[in-house]
Symmetry: C2
Subunit: 201 residues, 2 copies
């Protein structure tokens, strides 16, 4: 519909996740209408990510050095590893300020439909980190969906015989949510995982 370069940019933008043809066109025309420094900054950021960002050799998190910021931080405790699917899950957990241990990024979840098995994830690298006996607990923080649960089950079976405490993030009602709108599975989990709050006087 448009001439070469503009249509090429719309096509490239349309390949990004969550951007449809209309959004791609809107972004392309936005970039045409603003100062060319905006495009330069975007190109610079993309190039820098392509050239500089790699994955931490220890935990698999995104990093600009061989070892990521969290693995380098001496103030974090070494005896707990939180296992997540993706780097963005690390960011989500860091925002809670609830966890002061280390991470391990699997790079996905077990998904037989897409042909992703344990060997396609960074499971061997996780086992290598448990060799010296420093780690006492593994917190499984995979997604609470089918693939994440399968991955957590697999890891639980593998890690439990090693004498480690293996825990899983709690399932239940989201804070600020409405009980009425919770799905059956979540509400069922909330019942199963209920906690005693009565006080003994």
């Amino acid at each position: 519909m448009f001439e070469g370069a503009v249509q090429d940019l719309i096509d490239e933008l349309g390949r990004l996740p969550g951007i449809g043809p209309k959004s791609a066109q809107r972004i392309a025309f936005h970039l045409l209408s603003v100062d060319s420094s905006v495009i330069e900054d975007l190109v610079g950021a993309l190039t820098k990510v392509k050239d500089d960002v790699r994955f931490c050799v220890t935990c698999g998190n995104v990093s600009e050095q061989d070892t990521c910021r969290i693995c380098r931080d001496p103030r974090r405790v070494d005896d707990v590893i939180c296992v997540v699917e993706e780097s963005k899950d690390v960011a989500a957990i860091e925002r809670t300020n609830e966890f002061r241990g280390r991470y391990h990024v699997l790079g996905g979840a077990i998904n037989p439909m897409d042909g992703i098995g344990p060997d396609d994830l960074r499971v061997k690298e996780l086992l290598a980190r448990l060799g010296d006996g420093t780690v006492r607990e593994i917190i499984l923080a995979t997604d609470p969906n089918l693939e994440g649960e399968a991955t957590a089950t697999y890891l639980t079976r593998m890690l439990s015989p090693m004498g480690l405490v293996v825990s899983r993030l709690a399932s239940g009602l989201p804070v600020g949510g409405d009980l009425e709108y919770a799905d059956e599975v979540t509400l069922g989990r909330a019942f199963a995982g209920r906690r005693t709050v009565s006080q003994t006087v």
Copy 2:
């Protein structure tokens, strides 16, 4: 939350229209996970648009040459000019295959709230195209909103004394829409613009 380059990319992506922080993060991690050629293609498309795309000296449409594809096309008729706000409106009208004349892109609409008056639009350039008497009709295809209507009213007043036919795109019910859900103004316009369909036998 992330290390330098990744966060910079998320920030740059988040400045694009319609992309919030979550989408920006999703796109950044998508780009990290795919082959680096995807980033290279995107950078290439951005750079090409920055370097090669300019605006047609005649109509103001986006173009890779001094004059755009439509202004160069000898098969199009020269006596009708369709006036639109933006280049993307040209693309939308071209998709209909209903119009075979030329275009004129104003580069926006009159908007006193944002301080955009007629002098900020390509109105002078439009007048210059009418000088030789070739043009017989001007179709005003500005957006059917407050700013577009104001612009159309302004141009109607300016162009009518020049002996040109000045027309405006029809307002009415969108095809495939539901009468029940049409807003009052649109439904009112549809009544005002009703057409006789009875046949004389």
